[in-house]
């Protein structure tokens, strides 16, 4: 199975007009790849579907806006991949 980073990068390339080779682990999704808010919505939908999760974009944005976390924690590709892996793991963990 491809890594979360590769799967997300593939989704971004398929969903937007960003060439796949331009997407690196250090790419900032907004600042470096130039993805606007509507394309980002499509990408989040694609990630939600691909990984069977609900990427908490609103909560992340609130954390950034409140100064509790830097935007890079969520929107740099390698960190986005880690966040997605965490969400998948949390979903698979037995509850209770």
């Amino acid at each position: 199975m491809a890594s979360a980073f590769d799967r997300i990068a593939d989704l971004i390339a398929e969903t937007s007009d960003v060439p796949r080779e331009k997407i690196t682990p250090d790419s900032h999704v907004i600042n470096d790849l130039g993805i606007d808010s509507l394309d980002f919505l499509d990408i989040v939908f694609a990630i939600d579907k691909e990984f069977g999760i609900k990427v908490p974009v609103e909560a992340w944005t609130q954390e950034v806006n409140a100064g509790r976390a830097p935007a890079e924690n969520f929107f740099v590709m390698k960190n986005l991949a880690i966040r997605v892996e965490e969400l998948v793991a949390a979903k698979q963990a037995p509850s209770g």
């Binding site: 509507l38 939908f45 939600d48 579907k49």
Partner: protein, 155 residues
């Protein structure tokens, strides 16, 4: 339907967490400014207003799901297919179905039929944002009640 006021839905007939169904009746030609322009001598319901109708049905579905705490706004229109002409005075059945409930957005499909015949369908993305004003929130609640939705009292 009051096309010039963008009041596309006449009555919501059923709603649950995933699907909303509604009815509407296209107005007649007489005195209607939309049909005066679209098109002279060949009055047709504009396709963009059919898409708007499906978007509004999706919006009411999301308002129901959100307990009227946020305002759904159309963000994208995909795979719109306008399969047949809609004439003045046509009766339409509208269905909105939730495809995905995301964080701050939702994806739906919309479908319109007329007397059992497929008219159009679409995939829509709507953002859910805080109401920009209390007046708009109150107006939306009033309109929802008039369409047949149950509206919770504001917290």
């Amino acid at each position: 339907m009051r096309l010039e006021y963008f009041e596309m839905i006449d009555r919501i007939t059923a709603v649950d967490d995933n699907t909303l169904t509604a009815e509407c009746k296209v107005p007649g030609v007489e005195g209607n400014p939309v049909f005066a322009g679209h098109m002279p001598g060949f009055p047709l319901m504009p396709g963009v207003l059919l898409i708007e109708t499906m978007a509004q049905a999706s919006g009411w579905l999301l308002l129901h799901r959100l307990n009227f705490t946020r305002m759904p706004l159309l963000a994208s229109v995909k795979e719109a297919k306008l399969r047949s002409f809609v004439l003045p005075e046509a009766s339409l059945q509208v269905e909105a179905t939730l495809v995905h409930d995301g964080s701050g957005y939702a994806v739906t499909t919309g479908r319109i039929t007329s007397n059992g015949k497929k008219v159009c369908e679409v995939e829509l993305t709507l953002r859910a944002l805080p109401f920009p004003s209390p007046d708009l929130a109150a107006m939306v609640r009033d309109r929802a009640r008039s369409l047949g939705l149950t509206v919770p009292e504001p917290a």
